[in-house]
């Protein structure tokens, strides 16, 4: 492990990697600072760029966009009370109050330091944790993999922010879309309707850009938001004593965010709310929360950024993306010829450590760029949507086209875009659909291998030789029943 770790770090210390990570961070903070433009949309639109770059440049670029976007969302949340991304909703509880008190500079700096600490600590933790987990993952066979994939899909469907019915509905639709094209076992065509463009199946890129970017653009067009007044950070800088006073809050939120990040389907929004609630509960003066408490900014920001590192664990060890951001990263990995999963660690462990190392580099760059560019990004908040929406649209369409120069990709892009728009209108979450689409191929292959290995007696084979599979199956049933019970009793933390 150590040899691969150091090789990976050597591979990542390149000027072009650092420069593109910094570019990704700046773009991410820029988009995150724009109310109504999400990190997911930015990553979807910028994904095609990574395809044309070296894996050790393109993927760190996307990681930069990811980290920058999550942090950037806190800027409008603090200055104007409008969260730039869902992850920064909890920051609006205390951020705007601090701005009203003339302490917006302190709030922005606290958000930056808490974000960098949460993100860096969780990324370093991930680097040391991922090796042993990958060793375990390498020992699992097709039956366990099939059940783990089914378990992940069930968790994602159950934790999607609407109802369980809606989550499962979208998951199955995604699974069906993945069945279009050639079957992975026998190579026969399925549901191609003799259309040549469907024979190779539906590509992930137009689907991702269509589902995540186009609906955001159409909703932004619909949303009549009045122009935001330009603003700038005010007041004194954050002092070391103020930062020290929030250290317990930052550490607690980092631990919570890190734990939540390792669970597929939960994500930054829940982490930020849980971090905020825990900080308020633990505070000696909880009545100041919501009135402009620096801990109220530090807690959600450390928690939502601490999610970033551990979300890579299920992605890199099992090939299971935990949320839509890691689904986009999976698209980048696959396009670069790297298929995340247990095998990737045996073939390209140094590359994996290099990419994880780039997460730490991105954190260090975020600290520097965030500190230097806070006044610039504060002005970005006021850029009218009338100029940004057409630019984003142009970039989404051009990005899809230049990928393969295939006009059918544009048809898929708009079809998925309109589907995603309709889904958002009816309060469906498209994340389970994307997960179903991505995981269906490996799932079908693993089930098929299990059937071959069992030689016609699946129950006997699993019970006698693969008992872990039964435990995992029981976990799926128990997890789904638990989710149904929680939703019925109205205590779902996710929908809160």
């Amino acid at each position: 492990m150590w040899g691969e770790l150091f090789s990976g770090l050597e591979m990542i210390l390149r000027l072009d990697t650092v420069a593109m990570t910094a570019a990704g961070l700046v773009l991410g903070i820029f988009v995150g600072s724009l109310p109504g433009f999400t990190t997911v949309m930015a990553m979807a639109v910028l994904l095609p760029i990574s395809f044309f770059l070296d894996p050790l440049v393109g993927i760190p670029f996307l990681i930069g966009v990811y980290k920058g976007g999550i942090y950037g969302g806190s800027i409008p949340a603090i200055l104007i009370g409008v969260p730039g991304t869902g992850a920064s909703v909890a920051t609006t509880f205390d951020g705007p109050a601090l701005t009203k008190q003339g302490k917006s500079k302190k709030a922005l700096e606290m958000a930056l330091y808490a974000s960098v600490f949460g993100d860096m600590a969780s990324s370093i933790f991930t680097i040391f944790l991922i090796g042993p987990i990958a060793l375990l993952a390498m020992r699992i066979g097709p039956p366990e993999l099939a059940v783990v994939l089914a378990l992940s899909m069930a968790i994602i469907a159950a934790t999607s922010s609407t109802s369980l019915t809606k989550g499962l509905f979208m998951l199955f639709i995604g699974m069906f879309i993945a069945l279009v094209g050639q079957d992975p076992v026998h190579g026969v065509n399925r549901f191609t309707f003799d259309i040549f463009a469907l024979q190779a199946g539906i590509d992930l890129l137009p689907m991702i850009i269509g589902l995540f970017a186009i609906p955001e653009i159409l909703l932004a067009v619909e949303d009549k938001v009045s122009r935001v007044r330009a603003t700038k950070p005010e007041g004194e800088s954050l002092t070391l004593d103020e930062l020290k006073a929030s250290r317990r809050t930052i550490l607690r939120s980092t631990a919570m965010g890190g734990g939540i990040g390792a669970i597929p389907g939960v994500g930054q929004v829940v982490a930020a709310f849980m971090g905020y609630a825990a900080a308020k509960r633990a505070s000696a003066h909880p009545e100041t929360f919501g009135q402009g408490d620096l801990d109220g900014v530090a807690a959600p920001e450390a928690a939502n950024n601490a999610v970033n590192g551990p979300t890579m664990v299920p992605l890199l060890t099992l090939g299971i993306p935990g949320d839509n951001i890691t689904a986009i990263l999976l698209g980048a990995f696959v396009a670069q010829g790297l298929r995340p999963g247990p095998q990737l660690f045996s073939t390209d462990a140094a590359v994996i450590y290099a990419l994880l190392g780039s997460m730490v580099i991105a954190c260090l760059l975020l600290l520097v760029l965030g500190k230097l560019l806070i006044p610039v990004f504060a002005k970005v908040v006021s850029i009218p949507k009338a100029y940004m929406v057409p630019l984003t649209l142009v970039f989404a369409v051009a990005g899809t086209y230049v990928y393969r120069s295939n006009p059918m990709d544009l048809v898929f892009l708009m079809a998925f875009g309109l589907f995603g728009y309709g889904a958002r209108k009816l309060a469906f979450d498209v994340t389970p659909l994307v997960m179903g689409f991505i995981l269906m191929g490996p799932f079908e292959y693993a089930v098929s291998q299990t059937l071959s290995l069992s030689q016609g007696n699946v129950a006997g084979y699993v019970a006698s030789e693969r008992p872990v599979t039964l435990i995992l199956l029981a976990l799926i049933v128990a997890g789904l029943l638990f989710m149904i019970f929680r939703r019925k009793s109205g205590q779902s933390a996710v929908s809160a």
């Binding site: 399925r190 619909e222 989404a396 230049v402 875009g417 209108k425």
Partner: protein, 166 residues
């Protein structure tokens, strides 16, 4: 933030909700696809008549389509009276944006990235209320040109040059 329609005030009535119509439509579509399986899923190649190992190509489509029919039926029944409110019809701005994206795709290669972007961005920005000449010049020309130069000269990613030749 995502809206939860279930939190809207419940209005009971005889007419089915939009959501139940969507579920019902998808259930019907899935049932139709299920019927089409024998014609739409190819047969695997067999060696000397022996059945191939593993999962049959039509097995997973059957399970998934049955699951869609089942969950969509549950959804149609449970959401039948959730809300009588109809989904808002997309406004002209949304329709125009969709049309603009198709037009942009059509003119991207013949006109080139910079000119096609300038045309699309300026027209759409003006329609969406952007009137400031500096804003229009920046978003409509300077940003696409900068993106074009960065992509083609720095990142070596090809973008259509078109009429302008740059």
């Amino acid at each position: 933030m995502k809206q939860d329609l279930s939190q809207q005030p419940e209005k009971r009535g005889v007419a089915p909700s939009t959501l139940s119509l969507v579920y019902g439509g998808v259930a019907c579509l899935a049932a139709w696809l299920f019927v089409l399986i024998p014609g739409q899923v190819g047969k695997p190649v067999t060696l000397f008549g022996a059945a191939p190992d593993g999962l049959a190509p039509d097995a997973m489509p059957r399970y998934v389509l049955l699951a869609i029919i089942g969950i969509a039926s549950i959804g149609a029944v449970t959401s039948f009276r959730d809300s009588k409110e109809r989904i808002a019809v997309p406004g002209p701005a949304v329709i125009l944006t969709c049309v603009a994206s198709f037009v942009f795709a059509a003119i991207l290669v013949p006109l080139g990235f910079v000119l096609a972007s300038a045309l699309t961005v300026v027209l759409l920005a003006v329609y969406l209320g952007g009137r400031h000449p500096v804003g229009l010049a920046l978003s409509g020309f300077l940003v696409p040109l900068t993106i074009y130069l960065i992509f083609t000269r720095v990142l070596h990613i090809s973008l259509p040059p078109g009429l302008a030749g740059f």
